[in-house]
C-alpha cells in the first residue's frame, strides 16, 4: 500500500499535551493523552464520522489535522504529501484545501463583520489575485451553495441578525469559498434545534455529492451520522475502539462502548421504550489512563483480562474492526 492510495492517511498519530500550565520554576511532566495512536484512511469524496463523548480527543484530532496543533508523533499524508510537520507557508496553501466548520455558530462568527466580509475573508487572506467582482461572485456562489438564496439579502447583514441555522450556513459558506477538498465538520449541528439539524445534515450530504468534497464529520451523537457517512470510527479516550462501514457499525455494533452509545439515542416513540445501557460516570481524564483496556472501568461487560491487557484490533470484515477482548475474529 503506497501513500498515493489514499486521499488522506493518518498513521499512528499522537498528540499529547502537558498537564497544567508550567510555571517559571516548576516543570510539569504529566501528559494529557488527547490523541493516542490513531490511524485512519480516507478516500476522495468519502465521508467518515468520528464519534465519541467530549474528552475523547476527536476535536484535538481535527485541530491536529488542520495543522492548528502540532502532532507529538505519527504521520499525516494528505493528497500524497506529508504534512505532519508542515511549516507556515505550507500550511497556508494547505488550508485552501482543508477547511473546518465549527460547532458553535453563535461564537464562530465575528459580530463586527458583515456576512460578506466573513465569507470573503478567506479570499482576502489567501490573496488569490481576484478582482473585487470575482471575489464577490465567489462569495455569492458559496452562500447560495450553502442554502442562503438569494445571497444579496444576506451579504450586508451582521451575524446577530441571523438565526442559528442561518449562521451555521454562513460558517459553511465561509469554508466552501476556497473550494476545499476536505471539510472537517466539528459537531456542526449539536448547538442547533432538531428541526434545523436535518437541514444542515442534508446540506452537507448535498455538498459532498455536488462538489465531491470529503468530509470528516465529528459528533457525539451516533443518531445523526447514518444519513451520509460512509464509514464510522468510534473514539474513546484518544483511541479508535471500533471502525467500519456505516451499516456494519450501526446495525451490528461490536464494541460495548458503541453499543452503549447506540442505545442512548433517543427514539421519538414512547411505545418503543427500550433497554438503555447508560454508562455511569464520564470519560476519565486522559492524564492517568486506566490500565489494560481504557474502557474497562465503565464497561458493563468487562472481564478480568480487560483490566490487565490492552486489546488489539480484531478484524471482522475487510472494513470492520474493533478493539475488545470479547470479540472474536471473523
Amino acid at each position: 500500500m503506497t501513500n498515493m492510495d489514499y486521499f488522506l492517511e493518518v498513521r499512528d498519530l499522537k498528540k499529547y499535551f502537558q498537564a497544567g500550565r508550567p510555571g517559571w520554576f516548576s516543570k510539569s511532566t504529566r501528559l494529557v493523552h488527547a490523541v493516542d495512536d490513531i490511524s485512519l484512511q480516507l478516500q476522495r469524496g468519502e465521508v467518515i464520522a468520528l464519534v465519541g463523548e467530549s474528552g475523547c480527543g476527536k476535536s484535538t484530532l481535527a485541530l491536529t489535522l488542520m495543522g492548528l496543533e502540532k502532532p507529538t508523533a505519527g504521520q499525516i499524508i494528505f493528497e500524497g504529501e506529508d504534512i505532519t510537520h508542515a511549516d507556515e507557508s505550507q500550511l497556508k496553501t494547505l488550508r485552501q484545501r482543508i477547511q473546518m466548520v465549527f460547532q458553535d455558530p453563535y461564537e464562530s462568527l465575528n459580530p463586527t463583520q458583515s456576512i460578506e466580509e466573513i465569507v470573503g475573508e478567506p479570499l482576502v487572506v489567501h490573496d488569490l489575485g481576484l478582482s473585487p467582482a470575482e471575489r464577490r461572485e465567489r462569495v455569492v456562489r458559496a452562500l447560495e451553495d450553502a442554502g442562503l438564496k438569494p445571497a444579496d439579502i444576506y451579504m450586508r447583514r451582521f451575524p446577530h441578525e441571523l438565526s442559528g441555522g442561518q449562521r451555521q450556513r454562513v460558517v459553511i459558506a465561509g469554508a466552501l469559498v476556497l473550494e476545499p477538498h476536505l471539510l472537517l465538520a466539528d459537531e456542526p449541528v449539536s448547538m442547533l434545534d432538531v428541526s434545523i439539524r436535518a437541514e444542515i445534515l442534508n446540506l452537507l450530504a448535498d455538498l459532498r455529492k455536488s462538489r465531491q468534497i470529503s468530509i470528516i464529520f465529528i459528533t457525539h451523537d451516533l443518531g445523526t451520522v447514518g444519513y451520509f457517512a460512509d464509514r464510522i470510527a468510534v473514539m474513546y479516550l484518544g483511541r479508535i475502539v471500533e471502525t467500519g462501514a456505516m451499516r456494519e457499525v450501526l446495525e451490528s455494533p461490536q464494541h460495548p462502548y458503541t453499543r452503549a452509545l447506540l442505545s442512548v439515542i433517543p427514539v421519538p416513540n414512547p411505545r418503543l421504550r427500550r433497554e438503555r445501557v447508560i454508562l455511569q460516570g464520564e470519560t476519565p481524564n486522559p492524564i492517568d489512563l486506566p490500565s489494560g483496556c481504557r474502557f474497562h472501568p465503565r464497561c458493563p461487560v468487562a472481564i478480568e483480562r480487560c483490566k490487565q491487557e490492552d486489546p488489539p484490533y480484531v478484524r471482522l470484515s475487510a472494513t470492520h474492526q474493533t478493539a475488545c477482548w470479547l470479540v472474536k475474529e471473523a
Binding site: 463523548e53 488542520m66 488550508r95 477547511q99 465549527f102 428541526s195 447514518g226 442512548v264 421504550r273 447508560i278
Partner: protein, 643 residues
C-alpha cells in the same frame, strides 16, 4: 430553499453597528450630558481668538491698576496678577490644557493598546516580559517621576506631552490585555486561523474591532487624567512658561498673592475649567461604557411588573385519575413591551395542567416562547415582559395576583427552576457545597448550620454525587456533574414542582441519558412534578406523561405522550417527528422543516406556522386557527381540524 428566502424577506433592513450604537447612545443621558459639556469647551478653545474679549499675548495697555480687578465692567471675570483678562486667559488656557490632554492621552492609549494587544495575543514569554514591565511602571508613582523628568529636561509643551503620555499607559495596557485574552479565546479567532489568516490579519480584523470599544472608553478617562497631570505639573511651576494653561493660571495666581489679595476669581475660574472638563470626560466615559456594554444596566431576572389583580383562591382541583393538579395555567399571555413599538406577544393563551408526579415536556424550537412561559409562571420576566392575561394556579392560589413577598415563599420552596445554562453559573471561587449551603440558608434561616451541612450532603447524594465532592470547586466538576449539582440546588427546599429549562442541551448523549434517568428517578422517589423544557422531541419521548408543543408563542398541540408521538394532529408536531433521525430507516433522506420560526415582532396574520406548513390552506394565511379540543385532554390549534 425557496421558503427560507421567503421567510427572510419581511425582516427589517440591515442596520450597521454604528447606527445602532448612535441610537443607544442618544438614549443615554449621562453620555449625552458629558458629550455636550465636552463640545462646549472644545468650541471655546477652538474659537478662543474670536470669543476672547482681549488679546492675552500682548501686554500693551496694561497698568498696575489692572491687577486683580474684581469681575464686572470691562472684565467679566476680573483680571489676574498681570492685569490680564481672566476670561480671555481661560479661553486660551483651554487650548493648551486640551492639547496636552488629547496628545498625551493619544500617546498613552497607543502605547498601552499595542503592549496590551501584543501581550494578550502572543502570550508566553512576550506576555511575561511586557506585563512585568507594565507592573513596574504601574508601581512607580507617576507624579513624582514626572516632576523629576520635567525638572531635568526643559519644561516645554512637547516635553510635558511626552512625559505625561509615556507614563500614563499602564492601566490601558492591563485593560486591553485582559480584553484581548477574552477575545482571543473566542471561536471566531480559531476559525480565522483555520482559514489560514496570519497573526497580523487576526489582530487587525478580529481582535482590534472587539477591543476598540473598551479602548475608546479608556482613552476618554486617560484624557481627563492627562489634563489633571498637566495642571498639577504647571501648578507646581513645571509648566511651559510660554504656554498658558489652566494649571499655569492657577500657578501664577497662587504664587503671586491672589489668596492674600482676595482675588478668588483668578483661582476659581481655571479650577472650574479643570473640573468641567474632567467631569465631562468622566460622564462621557461612563455613559459610553453603559452604551457599549448594555448588560451593565440591569439584571435579566428583575421581578416583572405583575398585572394588578385581586387575590384569588380556589380549591385544588383533581384530574380525572384522581391525582391532585398542582399547577394549572389558564390562558396565560405575555407581552414584551419596547418603547416606541407595539407590544410583541411572546406567549398567547397557553393553558396546561400539571398533576402531582407528572412529567410534562414543553417542546418547541428556539424563540417559540418556552422560556418566557416558564419565567412568567414565577413572574421572573425581564422588565420588558408583562403578563397581560390569564391565571397561574399553584396549590389553589393564583400566582399572577400575589405580591412579591408572598411570591418569595412560592419560588424555590414551591416551584424551583433550573435555568438554561445554569450549570455554568456557579461562582468559580467558592465550593459547590458552600453555594448549596447558602441557598438553603437563605430560604430556611432557622435551620441550624450542622443540619444544613447534612442537608447539603443528602442533596448531593440524591443526585448521584458523593458527599466528599462537596468541598470541590466548580472547575473540578465536569459538565454533567455541575448540572447534577444545579438540580440538587433546585431540590434544596423540597419543592413540589421543578422546572428544568433545556437541562441536557449542551451535554453529550451519554450524559444526557444520565440526567434524564436522574430526573425520572427523582420524580419517583420524591413525588416531584417536573416540567422539562426542550427543543428535542426525542429526549422527552422516553419518560414524559404529557407533551405541550409550542410554536410562535401559542399552543400547537397538547396531549398525552402516546398521542403526541403516535397520533399527532398538528402539522408542526408531525414535521418535528419526521425531522428526527430514525436509525431503522438509514436510506431515507432526513425530512426538514424549511424556514425558521417567526420573529415575535413580525407574526404572520393567520396561523403562525402557516408559512412553513406543508398542508396550509388558504385560510391558514389569513385567520388564526382556534384551539380544538379533541378526545380527552388532547388539544390542537389547526384549521385542518375545523369541522
Amino acid at each position: 430553499m425557496q421558503a427560507i428566502a421567503e421567510s427572510s424577506k419581511p425582516k427589517t433592513q440591515s442596520t450597521s453597528p454604528l447606527l445602532t450604537f448612535w441610537r443607544t447612545f442618544r438614549r443615554n443621558p449621562m453620555a449625552l450630558v458629558g458629550l455636550t459639556m465636552l463640545i462646549i469647551i472644545l468650541l471655546l478653545a477652538v474659537f478662543a481668538r474670536q470669543l476672547a474679549p482681549y488679546d492675552v499675548t500682548s501686554s500693551a495697555n496694561v497698568s498696575t491698576a489692572d491687577i486683580y480687578n474684581p469681575p464686572g465692567g470691562a472684565h467679566l471675570l476680573g483680571t489676574d496678577d498681570a492685569g490680564k483678562d481672566v476670561l480671555s486667559n481661560f479661553f486660551f488656557g483651554a487650548r493648551i490644557s486640551l492639547i496636552v490632554g488629547f496628545f498625551a492621552a493619544f500617546i498613552s492609549v497607543f502605547i498601552g493598546g499595542v503592549i496590551g494587544i501584543v501581550a494578550g495575543f502572543y502570550g508566553g514569554r512576550i506576555e511575561n516580559i511586557l506585563m512585568r514591565f507594565t507592573d513596574i511602571m504601574l508601581v512607580i508613582p507617576d507624579l513624582p517621576l514626572m516632576v523629576v523628568i520635567v525638572a531635568l529636561t526643559k519644561p516645554s509643551l512637547i516635553n510635558i506631552i511626552f512625559v505625561i503620555g509615556l507614563l500614563g499607559w499602564t492601566t490601558t495596557a492591563r485593560i486591553v490585555r485582559s480584553q484581548t485574552l477574552a477575545v482571543k479565546s473566542r471561536k471566531f479567532v480559531l476559525r480565522a486561523r483555520a482559514i489560514g489568516a496570519g497573526n497580523f490579519h487576526i489582530i487587525l480584523h478580529h481582535i482590534l474591532p472587539l477591543v476598540m470599544p473598551l479602548l475608546v472608553v479608556n482613552a476618554i478617562l486617560v484624557i481627563s487624567l492627562a489634563i489633571l497631570n498637566e495642571s498639577a505639573l504647571s501648578f507646581i511651576g513645571l509648566g511651559d512658561p510660554t504656554a498658558l494653561s489652566w494649571g499655569q493660571m492657577l500657578n501664577y495666581a497662587f504664587g503671586r498673592g491672589a489668596m492674600s489679595a482676595g482675588a478668588w476669581w483668578a483661582l476659581v475660574v481655571p479650577g472650574l475649567g479643570i473640573v468641567w472638563v474632567v467631569l465631562a470626560l468622566t460622564l462621557l466615559g461612563h455613559g459610553l461604557e453603559q452604551v457599549l456594554n448594555p448588560r451593565l444596566e440591569f439584571h435579566h431576572l428583575e421581578p416583572g411588573r405583575p398585572v394588578v389583580q385581586s387575590e384569588a383562591r380556589q380549591p385544588v382541583a383533581r384530574a380525572e385519575d384522581g391525582r391532585p393538579i398542582l399547577l394549572e395555567v389558564q390562558n396565560l399571555s405575555v407581552d414584551y413591551v419596547t418603547a416606541g413599538k407595539p407590544p410583541a406577544r411572546a406567549v398567547e393563551n397557553v393553558s396546561f395542567q400539571l398533576r402531582e408526579g407528572e412529567l410534562m415536556g414543553l417542546v418547541g424550537e428556539s424563540g417559540c416562547g418556552k422560556t418566557t412561559l416558564m419565567l412568567a409562571l414565577l413572574r421572573l420576566l425581564p422588565p420588558a415582559g408583562q403578563i397581560v392575561g390569564g391565571k397561574v394556579w399553584f396549590m389553589g392560589r393564583d400566582l399572577t395576583a400575589m405580591d412579591e413577598t408572598e411570591l418569595q415563599t412560592v419560588r424555590w420552596n414551591g416551584i424551583s427552576i433550573v435555568f438554561q445554562g445554569a450549570m455554568n453559573a456557579f461562582n468559580p471561587v467558592r465550593t459547590i457545597g458552600d453555594q448549596i449551603f447558602e441557598a438553603i440558608q437563605k430560604h430556611t434561616p432557622i435551620l441550624p448550620e450542622d443540619k444544613i451541612e447534612d442537608r447539603v450532603s443528602e442533596l448531593l447524594e440524591l443526585v448521584g454525587i458523593s458527599a466528599e465532592h462537596k468541598a470541590h470547586f466548580p472547575h473540578q466538576y465536569s459538565g454533567g456533574m455541575r448540572q447534577r449539582a444545579m438540580i440538587a440546588m433546585a431540590l434544596a427546599c423540597n419543592p413540589s414542582v421543578v422546572i428544568a429549562d433545556e437541562p441536557t442541551t449542551a451535554l453529550d448523549v451519554m450524559i444526557q441519558a444520565q440526567i434524564l434517568e436522574l430526573l425520572d428517578s427523582l420524580r419517583k422517589k420524591l413525588g416531584l412534578s417536573i416540567i422539562f423544557v426542550t427543543h428535542d422531541l426525542g429526549v422527552v419521548a422516553e419518560m414524559c406523561d404529557s407533551v405541550l408543543v409550542m410554536y410562535g408563542g401559542v399552543t400547537a398541540e397538547y396531549a398525552s405522550v402516546d398521542t403526541i408521538y403516535n397520533a399527532p394532529r398538528h402539522p408542526y408536531t408531525q414535521e418535528l417527528l419526521k425531522a428526527f433521525p430514525d436509525l431503522s430507516k438509514l436510506d431515507k433522506r432526513l425530512a426538514s422543516i424549511p424556514g425558521y420560526p417567526p420573529r415575535l415582532d413580525q407574526l404572520p396574520p393567520g396561523c403562525r406556522f402557516a408559512p412553513r406548513c406543508p398542508q396550509a390552506l388558504e385560510r391558514c394565511h389569513t385567520q388564526p386557527p382556534a384551539l380544538h379540543r379533541l378526545e380527552g385532554t388532547h388539544v390542537a390549534s389547526c384549521h385542518l381540524l375545523d369541522g
